[in-house]
């Protein structure tokens, strides 16, 4: 097999042509957007145009966009920035969050008792649990829009309402959402929203934190006071331009793309169900069409992933890596699955460049490789 099949778009996705063009064009501009002379103004104009384009894609005001180096920085700025709210020591999140949220929350949370939001067995944050846990001592509630491992879409508007009732801020990591589900910041009731450029086909190294005009976020790093003092430093004009172009394309095509990817996902699930036994799909509706996580019982996920890699398929066990060794999925464990099930799941994720031929190739290869991995486990 000569051609590799890339099925790890949730990790990163190829640069879209619009982003490449915008990037290359903007790289020609010389000028620090903070300089007052003509060269600076020219750079500044491209930056602000990018900001406006991005804001329009997601239903936000341009003044609410803070450009960052990516999704992780955006998550950290949101969570650490909520830390100093007087009388509110608690940061609440669910155990299914990306480490950029959970690790920042762990650092920031002042706990007499370590609390977290509870998760249902099908991979959604429990609304009843949130209502019972969020209170007047909560500074921030953070719930991802779409889970990165299994793709489940979280009840954002409902949890935002619970937060609002208690005077807590609501943050959502929307890195996996842009382009796959409709995103309207203003309508959602969310106060803070993280975006990652490279998940929608912009280069790695650019993201945004959307900060509602309603709140005043405390900065955690300091310098020239750019980006509303929340994120000091010379802004990456070319990267911002690429991000805006990619986000614009993703938002425009979202409805069609969601349909297209849903069909690919259905094709994969149907094919696996037919050709491979003892497999369970993880993540009940509502779920993003871009992520398909399945448990293949009776094997080590790392072994199947290794065999697929050797056969030309790039896919992931979905869970965090520690020093190159895949860990059992914390998300599946939080859903109440067994340790062996949580160590037997693979994530296939689709993107703008995925075709039905990719899915067909995977379906052709999977049965034998699953058999071999099961043999290695026995």
């Amino acid at each position: 097999m000569n051609r590799r099949v890339y099925l790890d778009h949730a990790a990163t996705t190829p640069l879209v042509p619009e982003a490449r063009e915008a990037l290359v064009r903007a790289l020609e501009i010389v000028g620090n957007p903070n300089s007052v002379h003509a060269a600076g103004r020219r750079a500044r104009a491209v930056l602000e145009e990018s900001r406006e384009t991005l804001a329009e894609c997601i239903g936000a005001d341009p003044a609410e966009i803070v450009f960052t180096s990516g999704g992780t920085e955006a998550d950290n700025l949101a969570i650490l920035g909520a830390r100093s709210r007087p009388g509110r020591p608690h940061i609440l999140s669910a155990p299914i969050e990306h480490p950029a949220v959970s690790e920042a929350a762990r650092f920031a949370h002042v706990a007499d008792a370590q609390q977290s939001l509870s998760v249902t067995s099908d991979g959604h944050v429990s609304l009843a649990g949130a209502a019972a846990t969020v209170n007047s001592h909560t500074a921030l509630v953070s719930v991802q829009w779409v889970n990165n491992e299994i793709g489940t879409i979280q009840p954002i508007a409902d949890v935002a309402e619970v937060a609002r009732r208690n005077g807590a801020w609501m943050h959502s990591d929307a890195a996996q959402a842009l382009g796959h589900v409709p995103l309207d910041f203003a309508a959602s009731g969310v106060d803070l929203m993280s975006l990652a450029g490279h998940k929608v086909g912009a280069p790695v190294g650019i993201g945004a934190l959307v900060v509602s005009r309603r709140i005043s976020l405390a900065p955690v790093s300091f310098g020239g006071g750019q980006e509303r003092t929340v994120r000091s430093g010379t802004q990456p004009v070319a990267l911002a331009a690429a991000f805006a172009a990619a986000a614009s394309r993703a938002a425009q095509r979202q409805a069609d793309e969601t349909r297209r990817l849903a069909a690919l996902r259905d094709l994969l699930v149907a094919g696996v169900t037919e050709r491979v036994g003892d497999v369970e799909l993880n993540g009940a509706d509502p779920v993003s069409p871009a992520v398909c996580n399945m448990t293949f019982r009776g094997l080590r996920a790392a072994d199947l992933q290794f065999l697929l890699d050797r056969e030309g398929f790039d896919c992931s066990t979905g869970s965090a890596c520690h020093a190159g060794v895949a860990q059992p999925s914390e998300v599946l464990l939080a859903m109440g699955r067994s340790l062996s099930d949580a160590s037997a799941c693979l994530r296939f994720s689709f993107g703008w460049s995925t075709t039905s031929a990719d899915v067909e190739s995977l379906l052709a290869a999977l049965p034998a490789l699953v058999g071999q991995a099961r043999g290695a486990f026995a």
């Binding site: 072994d303 020093a323 190159g324 060794v325 071999q372």
Partner: protein
């Protein structure tokens, strides 16, 4: 690929020989340190990265396989248990026997690989009865002893590309190939005790148990903090209050974990003329009955000629005395340069001294 220069060069040679190679780093520690601290210890995250970079340079896939749970159970716990029982453990042999050429090899075979190659200094030859294990060309680096526990089935699936080389030449080759680990110091001693303090490690696992150090007549000559801190033949670290009557150094002759007593005495008492061993393993076809060969009892010890009689257990009569033999130590049997097998020393017969 440990992240050391030997396994890196071994991998490079396998690639040059035309094999389809995948580099695997074994994660054996549950809490790997960030950096390699000195020459002791192994498998820190820095070592993992060094192995990864070498694989990148060679253009081969690289994976980290986690065997930390098995390693704790089969190697570390065994190490502690042996000391607790007053015996000397062989962690490197256990690791080869249970992990590297067993669990790891099994997993590799199940995933479609044909063989495992390592940077061990040992040689393989094709003999009339199958694959033979022989000493390496470099006597200073020869590691055939720690491979002595392997079976023929394991040897059939193993490759040791460095067996014919001297260590300095291997380092030069690494430098020529542009491998960043060319000048990296070798790791030695026990890989899971990175600060080299075996006594401290054992104490943290077994606690301190104060007891007596006695001479051969049973008279107390000192105190200790745990019999597990000692090994037979040990001279240092005894901290005896007063010298022996003849003024000569004393050595640990016996360890009794039940009474928590350590017996010390003069060097002559450590000299043994024969060994009794249990649980023999064969790296060559089984050889029952008496035969003349040689035996080695330490990783970097001199072999000694011997008459060997190996059945369900083994009796070895040495041509010349060996010093400081501890129960639990591995004896590896050679016929010339070929490793025939190994067994675990259970008892040693002291050289008779004229009264």
């Amino acid at each position: 690929m440990s992240g050391g220069v030997d396994s890196a060069v071994a991998a490079a040679r396998m690639v040059d020989a035309g094999h389809e190679v995948t580099g695997v780093h074994l994660a054996l520690s549950r809490n790997p340190e960030l950096f390699r601290s000195g020459s002791r210890g192994c498998c820190s995250l820095e070592d993992s990265n060094d192995a990864r970079r070498a694989a990148d340079k060679l253009g081969i896939p690289f994976y980290v396989w986690d065997f930390s749970d098995r390693f704790v159970a089969d190697v570390v716990d065994d190490f502690v248990a042996e000391y607790q029982a007053g015996r000397t453990p062989n962690p490197c042999l256990r690791c080869n026997e249970k992990i590297k050429f067993a669990a790891v090899l099994e997993r590799g075979l199940a995933l479609g690989f044909d063989a495992i190659a390592t940077g061990h200094y040992a040689s393989l030859a094709s003999g009339p009865h199958g694959t033979e294990l022989h000493r390496a060309t470099d006597p200073a680096k020869d590691q055939s002893y720690v491979l002595g526990v392997l079976t023929q089935a394991q040897l059939e699936r193993s490759l040791f590309p460095l067996g014919g080389d001297l260590k300095p030449a291997v380092r030069d080759e690494a430098a020529r190939r542009g491998l960043s680990v060319a000048r990296k110091p070798d790791s030695y001693d026990i890989c899971f005790i990175s600060d080299g303090d075996t006594g401290g490690f054992l104490e943290s696992r077994l606690g301190a148990r104060p007891g007596l150090i006695v001479d051969e007549e049973g008279r107390a000559v000192g105190e200790h903090n745990g019999s597990h801190r000692f090994t037979i033949g040990q001279r240092k670290g005894l901290h005896l209050g007063h010298p022996a009557a003849d003024g000569r150094p004393r050595y640990v002759l016996d360890i009794s974990p039940v009474s928590n007593t350590v017996t010390v005495g003069p060097l002559e008492q450590l000299r043994v003329s024969a060994l009794h061993c249990i649980r023999p393993t064969w790296a060559a076809p089984v050889r029952h009955g008496e035969w003349e060969g040689s035996v080695q009892v330490r990783a970097h010890g001199q072999p000694v000629g011997a008459r060997l009689d190996i059945g369900d257990e083994a009796d070895i009569v040495l041509d010349a005395p060996l010093t400081g033999i501890a129960p639990g130590q591995a004896a590896v049997f050679y016929d010339g340069t070929q490793v025939v097998g190994s067994a675990t020393i259970s008892a040693a017969r002291p050289v008779l001294v004229d009264a």
